[in-house]
C-alpha cells in the first residue's frame, strides 16, 4: 500500500526544492489574485484626471507603499525561482538546483531592497 503524498505533509519539506515548489505556487496564486484586482481598479481610473490623481494620492500613503514593497518581494521571488525552473527544465539546472536557488534568491533580495527604497522614497508623508 503506497502512502498518498499531500502537499501539506511536512515530512517532505527537508529539501530546498520542496519549499521552492510550494512557495512558488502560493506566490503565483497571490499574484493572479492581485492581477485581477489591478486590472479592475486601473479600468475604473480612466474616468478623468481628478479621480485618478485623488486615488493615486490615497495610494501613496505609508500602508499602501509598504504593501507595494511586499508585492515587489512576492514578484521577485516568483520571477527568480521561475528562472531556476526554466534552467532546470531546459539547461541541466537540476545538477545545481540548490545552489541556483540560493544565488538567485540572493540577487532577488538585492533587487527587492533597491526597489523598495525607490518605492518608499515616493511616500507622501502628509496628504493634502
Amino acid at each position: 500500500m503506497v502512502k498518498k503524498t499531500r502537499f501539506y505533509d511536512f515530512t517532505y519539506y527537508n529539501f530546498i526544492g520542496s519549499w521552492a515548489w510550494i512557495l512558488h505556487r502560493l506566490a503565483g496564486l497571490a499574484l493572479i489574485f492581485y492581477l485581477s484586482l489591478h486590472i479592475w481598479v486601473i479600468n475604473s481610473l480612466t474616468q478623468g484626471e481628478a479621480v485618478f490623481d485623488q486615488v493615486m494620492t490615497f495610494l501613496n500613503s505609508v500602508p499602501f507603499k509598504l504593501l507595494e514593497t511586499g508585492l515587489w518581494g512576492v514578484i521577485l521571488f516568483h520571477a527568480f525561482n521561475g528562472v531556476r525552473i526554466v534552467m532546470v527544465d531546459f539547461f541541466k539546472g537540476s545538477l545545481v538546483q540548490k545552489k541556483l536557488f540560493v544565488v538567485l534568491i540572493a540577487v532577488a533580495f538585492i533587487l527587492w531592497a533597491l526597489g523598495s527604497y525607490l518605492i518608499l522614497s515616493h511616500v507622501q508623508w502628509r496628504v493634502g
Binding site: 505556487r25 503565483g28 496564486l29 499574484l31 493572479i32 492581477l35 485581477s36 486590472i39 479592475w40 486601473i42 479600468n43 480612466t46 478623468g48 484626471e49 485618478f52 490623481d53 493615486m56 494620492t57 495610494l59 501613496n60 507595494e68 515587489w72 514578484i75 520571477a79 521561475g82 528562472v83 525552473i85 526554466v86 527544465d89 531546459f90 526597489g115 525607490l118 518605492i119 515616493h122 507622501q124
Partner: protein, 124 residues
C-alpha cells in the same frame, strides 16, 4: 494505477511549454512595468498626465496588450496546473476550466478597454 489516468495524452505539454515561454516574456515586461510606473514617476506619484503621455505612443499600448495577454495566460494557466493536481474528476475539471476561461475573457476585455481608452483620451 488510478482509473482516472487511463487516458493519457500530450494535451498538457503545450500548456507546459507556453507557461515557460510566457514566463520569459513576463520577466522582461514586468521589470519594464515596475521601472515605468513604480520607480521613475517624475515626482511623488504616478499622475494622470504621466500615464496618458506614455499611453499615447504607437508602441506602448501594443506592449501593454502583450503584457496583459501574457500575464493573464501565465496566471490562469498557472492556476489551472495547480487545480489539475488536485482535481481528477472529469466533471470538476471541466467546471474549473470553464470558470478560468470565463474569468480570463472578462479580464482581457476589461484590460483591453483600459488600453484603448487611455490611447484615445485627449491629453490636457
Amino acid at each position: 494505477m488510478n482509473k482516472n489516468f487511463k487516458q493519457t495524452s500530450k494535451a498538457g505539454s503545450l500548456g507546459w511549454l507556453l507557461q515557460r515561454i510566457s514566463a520569459v516574456i513576463l520577466f522582461v515586461l514586468l521589470f519594464f512595468h515596475f521601472i515605468v510606473y513604480h520607480f521613475i514617476t517624475q515626482g511623488r506619484t504616478t499622475t494622470y498626465q504621466y500615464v496618458l503621455a506614455r499611453a499615447q505612443s504607437w508602441w506602448f499600448p501594443l506592449l501593454q496588450f502583450l503584457f496583459l495577454l501574457t500575464a493573464l495566460y501565465h496566471g490562469l494557466n498557472g492556476v489551472w496546473s495547480v487545480l489539475e493536481d488536485y482535481t481528477t474528476s472529469k466533471f470538476w475539471r471541466l467546471v474549473w476550466y470553464s470558470l478560468l476561461l470565463t474569468v480570463g475573457t472578462i479580464l482581457l476585455f476589461v484590460g483591453t478597454l483600459t488600453i484603448i481608452k487611455l490611447y484615445t483620451l485627449k491629453a490636457a
